[in-house]
Structures are given as structure tokens and as C-alpha cells.
Amino acid sequence: MALNKICTLCLRQNSRELRILNNLINKRNHFVYTADAESPVKGETTKLNMFQAINNALDSALQSDESALVFGEDVAFGGVFRCTIGLQAKYGPGRVFNTPLCEQGIVGFAIGAANMGSTAIAEIQFADYIFPAFDQLVNEAAKMRYRSGGQFDCGKLTVRAPCGAVGHGALYHSQSPEAYFAHTPGLKIVVPRGPIKAKGLLLACVRDPDPCLILEPKALYRAAVEEVPVADFVLPIGKADVLLKGEQVTLIGWGTQVHVLLEVVHLAKTQFNASCEVIDLVSILPWDRNTVCQSVKKTKRVLIAHEAPLTGGFGAEVAATIQEECFLHLEAPVARVTGFDTPFPHVFEPFYLPDKWRCLDAIRNLLDY
């Protein structure tokens, strides 16, 4: 983070130091961002990074829906990731406001507002801090419609949280908690891979009749830049994207990991002459079993990769379903390359992540099985 703010004035005389620091920045990401080839919607586009796209989506939501509220810690001045810049000035402190530092309060409050028909868009500052709100999300938000016989619901609830590795986040600024929530019927969960998906998915969540959780990979806030449609648009929840078609191995990931996999495809082609298919799951709950199984039945080999730890990670759910539905088609066991069963470490991050070399190696094993 601090490296972003290199004091170029200070280092003006020392171009060698400047070059070293710049190189460090480039080496810092374990992925190379690949923008979407196509826009999902025709019409004018504008170049935006992911936090700008999210800001744009929130603006659209507030513009189009008088009942919409955006709140959380520090959202008033623009948010620690700048996702809410300019919104309080535009829509007023009645609709865009700071809350006290209390995640269980933020989500509980959001549920109540949603009960009364307000579109409640709550921000949790880091997904690592969503756990005080776990009870409200799992026991209350997810179950409100079911337990009341449909009399009450909090469909107008959307919770946003930055997630995932960022290079130096360590235990409490890097987590990917999707698996905990995937286990909760009643919630919907999505993970965007870039600005276009972020805008479309966030608007979809806001307008979805069920409570939604959107986990935004923070490493993509600045690094992901795309030509994003200017129009208001939604993207489907529950639908996976086949980003690249291939014949021999299916690679499945979500969020930042999708970009790691897109790089691995080229390495696999160069090193093993293998043709790989890449699927961005997009939606964790509900997830697109049909697209995944269709692909696996074709390629017969599959690798699932995610940053979250191995045991009980969402890859386990995908793997279990694949072996149920595609058993006789498989030529090799379902492979998972994931974070290890440790908390997310600081200086050891390069050894922890499911990087392109671990993924490449797993592909080699799949092909050689």
C-alpha cells in the first residue's frame, strides 16, 4: 500500500532506487489481470477500475431507488477503498452514512431496514471482520423468509465486503470466507473477477429478492481496469462464465484466482501443449453445476483453485458434485490447489497462495495420471 505513494520528489535524484521500488510493485501481485474480451451490454463504455465500477454501481442504485441506503464504517468520506467516494455529497447523509464500528450492528440494522422495504446496502470493511455479523447473516437474514412463512424477508439486503489476498494483508486482511456462508441456505453469494462483473453483479444483488453477499477481491480494486458499460445493467447470479474454451483440462476459480488460471492456460499450452478450459464460477451460492459438469464431461480432467484453505473450502463442494455427476467421465481425480490449512500468513504469502506454478504442476499431474 505504502509503495503506491512513493515520494517521487524525494527520490527524484535517485532513479536507481525508484526503478527498484517500481519493480517491487510489479512483482508484488501474484497474478496478471486479464480484462474481459467482450462487454455484456451494448453501448457506450468508459475505462474504470474495480472500485470506480463499484462506485458507479452504487451511484446507479441510489439514483434509481429512492429507498436505497449505503452505510458502514467510514463510507461517508469515500471508504477505505474509495468505493463510496462522492456518494454522501450527492445523496445526502440521510442515505449515505457512517455507522459505529460494529459489524453485528451494521448487518442487524441493515436487515431491519430491508424488512421495512428499504434497499439496504451495507459495507463490511474487510471480509475478515464479517464474523461478528455471522449470527445476523446466518441465523437471521438467511432464514427470515423461511421461518416467517414468507410474511417477512430481507430480500432488499446486500452486504459488500472486500476479500482475498492483497500481497501483505496477512491473517486479517486477506481472508476469503465464502465457504462459511455457502453452507447457509437462504443467502446468495457472488465474487466478481473485474470491474464489469463487479458493477453488474452488485446491481443484481441490490435488485435480487433475496439477501446477497458480494465478496470483492481487494487486489482487483486498482489492478483491474476495463471498459465498463456506462448504462445501468445487471448480470445473472447463479451463472458461471466459460472464459476460454479448451479440450483437455477444466480450470475452475473465482475472483482473483481466475486471472491466475488464465495465465496458467498459456503456460500449460507452452509446456505440455495442453488445451485448457477456464470457468469463472462467479456465483458461490447458488452455483452453476450444469456449466461445470458439462465442461468436465468434455475435458474429463478438472482443477479447482481457490485462496481459501483446503479443508471445507468451497472447492470441496464443487469436487464432491463433480465426482457424483461426472464419475464415469473422469480420467483423473478432481484436483484442488488452494491455500493451505493454516491461517493466512504475512511474509510467507508467496508460499501460501495457489500460484500459477502450483496450478501448472497440478495440471501436469492430471495429464499424466
Binding site: S67, L69, G94, F97, T99, P100, C102, Q104, G105, V107, G108, F109, A110, I111, G112, A113, A114, N115, M116, G117, S118, A120, P132, D135, Q136, N139, E140, K143, M144, R145, Y146, R147, S148, G149, G150, Q151, F152, D153, G155, P185, G186, K188, P209, D210, G238, P286, R289, N290
Partner: protein
């Protein structure tokens, strides 16, 4: 020198420098965290520094009005509805509690001792006000018009249960009556009520949120108080302090001056009133409501009372308190008895009316009970509905798998009890 600089800064653009300048001249503390004064006296502030907040009451323990100017000018019909609803609640509780002991419903919670809290507060609200409850507020629902049949149907989870058989007994909810469906986790309703109130700002409606002395220990309670204050929400945070959280007495729940003392600490206007005095409950809630509507800010009410019954049918409170203690409360400070005295003194009630009413109440409860028991449960596939607004593919598949299974193994499933 300093004055010249100040005058220059007063031109307006450099507010921080101006504050620094004020620093040089103001004697008091300027910390952003508190608006207060200095002291050179190093003394603890303790639980006894402030005198305990007194308990507001209209009637004494025997039902005599202490200060007539506080007697609410309610029409006779309202006073009678208040009393008869309290007694109907008692009657329903007795019968449904018994029915659980007989194995007919799976679970029940009575409301003995808290009738005045429910009825008094409910009577001061309008039908449009929204209620978030904990689990011991059946009287509020009853006041609003939830029928005996609706109570019984929910306890049986039959096909007429508004909750569609999804939850344990007493987890009532009614969209029509603005009573949000009860959930078992304690205190979760509190920040929700605050959010609901925020959404209703300016509508003229208020939200009332009931919670117990035990639930007030949950983090959600703290969140609710703080959010209600900082976001200025028209919500009444109504604590039923009945002395126990299952077996845990208040001494093991908190050490401060109850829940009322917490209100001002969060910046919230607070009232403490006698939960056994239906007129005090009415007055307090009425005042709170007026404040909420006028100021669009919250109020904490702490209703002091005593839980006469067991926590639930899963509890035998003789394990942790003496029968003497319970009898003492029932005989010397009984909300229904004291209100009956009040009404009798006004010439609005008598023993004959009492006998007649209780007889009819029993009959009505039994009629609803017998009918409710006979009704089938909802179609068993209902258990797959309402997870989401529209049933997704994966749940549909699971439902179909189970349908095939039940077809084959019908005799092992209680299909006859379901519609």
C-alpha cells in the same frame, strides 16, 4: 500578538488553526471524545455514584392510584379490553402449557407476571407501529387482534399456521398486525428494530422492540443502543426486566443499575417503570412514543417485573428459586389482580363478570385448541419452500429426490398427518 493572529484567522479559511488559537485561550478540555470539565480530584466513579433510577408507577401494589393526575383518561371500553386481554392471555397460557405437558404440542412459554407489560405497552401504540419481539410478548399480539385460533395453529404448526409449520411453538408472526416473526436467537431483533425504525423515519410510525434482562447482555443489545442513538431512530427499546434469564438471576447478569442506567450512557432518553402496573406501562409507552415521533430519536424503557412462570415447558424453576419467592410475588404484587381492584373500584368489574369471562375464555380457547389439533400439517414438501423467493434448481432437485424416496418408503413417514 495572539489576538491579531486570531482576528486574521477569523477570516474563515483556516478552521484548524483557529481551533489551535482557541486552545490558547479556553480553559476547559477540548478533546473530541467528550464535552466536559477538568478535575484535580482522583476518585472512582462507581455503580453507586449515581442514585439508582427510580421506578415510575401510577398504582400502588394494591391497585390504588397514587397521583390522580397520572391516571390516564382511557375510555371504559379500553380499560376493559386491557383487563380481559390480560385474563384471556392467562387462560390461554394455562391451557396451552398443560397441552404441552400432555404431549400435544411440543413446547410452550407462558407470560405469567408480564401481562401488564404486554397490554399496557401495546395499548399505547397504533396498529401501524411495528413490533419486534423476543418470545414473551404474546399479550402484545393478542391486543392487536391475533386470534386464539391463530395462536393455536402456530403452536401446532398446522396448515393454517401463518409460519407454515417452519418453527417451534410461540414463534408467532403476523404481517397484518405488524408483528415481526419471532426467532430463537436472543437479542438479534434489537439492531433490526433500529434499522426498521431508520427506514420508517418521518412516516409517523414507531418501532417497539422487546427484549429481556438476559438478552440485554448480548452484543446485539449494545449495537442497538448505540446505533439507535447515533443514527437517531424512532425506536422504543423496551426491556422486560423480569429478574431471570432461565435460571440466571440478575445479579449474575449485570452489576450496574439494570438496563435503564445504560440508556443515558449511550445518549438515549430513558424511562424506568413498574412492569406490574398496566397504567404505568401505558403512560410510559405513550410518552416514549410521542417523543419518538416528535424528535425522531430513540427511547429506552425498562419495565421492572417478575417472571412468575417457568422459563418454558423445558424448565422447572423450583430447581433454582423457592416457591415462597414466586408466591410472594403472585400474592403481593400481581399485575392482573391489582388492575382488577382498580376496575372494581371504578365500578367496571366484579366477581360475577370475572367468573363469566373466565368461563367463556376457557371455552373459546378450547374450541380453538380442538380445531387446531384436528387440522393436518401443511403439505410436507412445504419444507423446501421459501428458502429463497423463487425455488432454485438445486433445492428443486433435492425435493424431487425426497418425493421419490417417500413414494417408496411411505410407511416410514408420517404422511397421514400432512395435507
Amino acid at each position: 500578538m495572539a489576538t491579531n493572529k486570531c482576528l486574521h484567522l477569523l477570516r474563515g479559511r483556516f478552521r484548524d488553526q483557529l481551533r489551535f488559537c482557541r486552545h490558547l485561550t479556553t480553559q476547559g478540555p477540548l478533546f473530541p471524545g467528550a464535552q466536559t470539565t477538568w478535575t484535580s480530584d482522583l476518585t472512582f466513579v462507581t455503580a453507586s455514584t449515581y442514585t439508582p433510577i427510580p421506578v415510575y408507577r401510577v398504582m400502588d401494589r394494591k391497585g390504588a392510584v397514587i397521583d390522580a393526575t397520572h391516571e390516564p383518561p382511557l375510555p371504559d371500553t379500553t380499560l376493559l379490553k386491557m383487563y380481559t386481554d390480560m385474563r384471556l392471555l392467562n387462560t390461554m397460557d394455562k391451557i396451552l402449557y398443560e397441552s404441552q405437558r400432555q404431549g400435544r404440542i411440543s413446547f410452550y412459554m407462558t407470560n405469567f407476571g408480564e401481562e401488564a407489560m404486554h397490554i399496557g405497552s401495546a395499548a399505547a401504540l397504533t396498529a401501524a407501529d411495528v413490533v419486534y419481539g423476543q418470545y414473551r410478548e404474546a399479550g402484545v399480539l393478542m391486543w392487536r387482534g391475533f386470534t386464539l385460533q391463530e395462536f393455536v395453529d402456530q403452536c401446532y404448526g398446522n396448515r393454517d399456521d401463518k409460519g407454515k409449520g417452519k418453527q417451534m411453538p410461540i414463534h408467532y408472526g403476523s404481517k397484518e398486525l405488524n408483528f415481526v416473526t419471532i426467532s430463537s436467537p436472543l437479542g438479534t431483533q434489537m439492531p433490526q428494530a433500529v434499522g426498521a425504525a431508520y427506514a420508517l423515519k418521518g412516516s409517523g410510525r414507531v418501532v417497539i422492540c422487546y427484549y429481556g434482562d438476559g438478552a440485554a447482555s448480548e452484543g446485539d443489545a449494545h449495537a442497538a443502543f448505540n446505533f439507535a442513538a447515533t443514527l437517531e431512530c424512532p425506536v422504543i427499546l423496551f426491556c422486560r426486566n423480569n429478574g431471570y434469564a432461565i435460571s440466571t438471576p440478575v445479579r449474575e447478569q449485570y452489576r450496574g443499575d439494570g438496563i435503564a442506567a445504560r440508556g443515558p450512557a449511550y445518549g438515549v432518553h430513558t424511562l424506568r417503570a413498574d412492569g406490574n402496573d398496566v397504567l404505568a406501562m401505558y403512560n410510559a409507552t405513550k410518552l416514549a412514543r410521542e417523543y419518538c415521533v416528535k424528535e425522531q430519536k430513540p427511547v429506552v424503557i425498562e419495565a421492572m417485573g417478575y417472571r412468575v412462570g417457568h422459563h418454558s415447558t423445558s424448565d422447572d424453576s423450583t430447581a433454582y428459586r423457592s416457591q415462597e419467592e414466586v408466591d410472594q410475588w403472585t400474592s403481593s404484587d400481581n399485575p392482573t389482580v391489582k388492575f382488577k381492584t382498580y376496575l372494581t373500584n371504578k365500578g367496571l368489574w366484579n366477581e360475577e363478570k370475572e367468573k363469566e369471562f373466565i368461563k367463556k375464555a376457557r371455552q373459546d380457547v378450547m374450541t380453538a385448541f380442538v380445531a387446531g389439533e384436528k387440522k393436518p400439517k401443511p403439505e410436507w414438501t412445504e419444507c423446501f419452500e421459501d428458502v429463497y423467493k423463487y425455488m432454485p434448481e438445486h433445492i428443486k432437485q433435492q425435493m424431487n429426490q425426497m418425493k421419490s424416496h417417500v413414494e417408496k418408503y411411505k410407511e416410514h413417514y408420517p404422511v397421514d398427518e400432512f395435507a
